[in-house]
Symmetry: C2
Subunit: 135 residues, 2 copies
């Protein structure tokens, strides 16, 4: 039996964004990694707290997740005899962040169709006018 919609099926997974790695996508961790990847040197725990507006507990918890995934490295040292915890992104973290970023860029490209011209709208709307709008 012919299917009149056969050629108009929505593209499987077109908006699944599976590259949005859950470890990185979480808001606080996205902020932390963006801080660390753009910093020119390791960043102190207390500075991360301020830059990302996190409590001690939240920052520790998210750093632990990132450390367990080997995306950041944490070093304990001293500064003028006071304890100092320094955080940096690892090479693995850098790669994973860049992969994540490419999917994030895709979201923005797709979303560019919203305000957009008919041209843009078509390119991000590859799937349907399968069914009419509601009556």
């Amino acid at each position: 039996m012919p299917n009149e919609h056969a050629n108009r099926r929505p593209a499987q997974g077109r908006f699944a964004y599976q590259g949005l790695d859950r470890v990185i996508h979480e808001r606080a961790r996205l902020g932390l990694l963006t801080t660390l990847i753009t910093a020119s040197a390791p960043v102190a725990f207390n500075d991360l707290k301020q830059l990302c507006t996190l409590t001690d507990g939240n920052l520790s918890r998210h750093l632990k997740v990132l450390e367990d995934e080997q995306l950041v490295a944490i070093e304990k040292g001293t500064d003028h005899n006071r304890p100092l915890t320094l955080c940096r992104i690892t090479p693995r973290g850098r790669i994973r962040y860049l992969e994540y970023l490419s999917t994030l860029e895709q979201v923005l490209k797709d979303a560019a169709a919203i305000a957009g011209t008919g041209e843009e709208e078509k390119s991000a709307d590859p799937f349907l006018r399968l069914r009419p709008a509601t009556q």
Copy 2:
């Protein structure tokens, strides 16, 4: 007592990205809203499933969250006598999505410093060389 770092404190909340609304930021819901906001007509439940690679259960759950926040509207109707559920983004959803998007753009702008030139790096690294790199 003078503080040698007084003028070099990290910018409070510079990387907090509080505009990344948790309702929208969740990966599946970001995909759903991007689908709906770029679609030219309401999208059928089954098509959303395919486009976002979600199971029935997950799709229902995320749509419920979005509906509770009045970001999407769901209408039940029929198509050739078969039940058909259609989803669309609400005007409120559109506004919230656009607000979200502006923060997402900021993340990408900040991240642009990674590969970037010294110029870009300075602009996204407003806080420190507070402390030296590890020895």
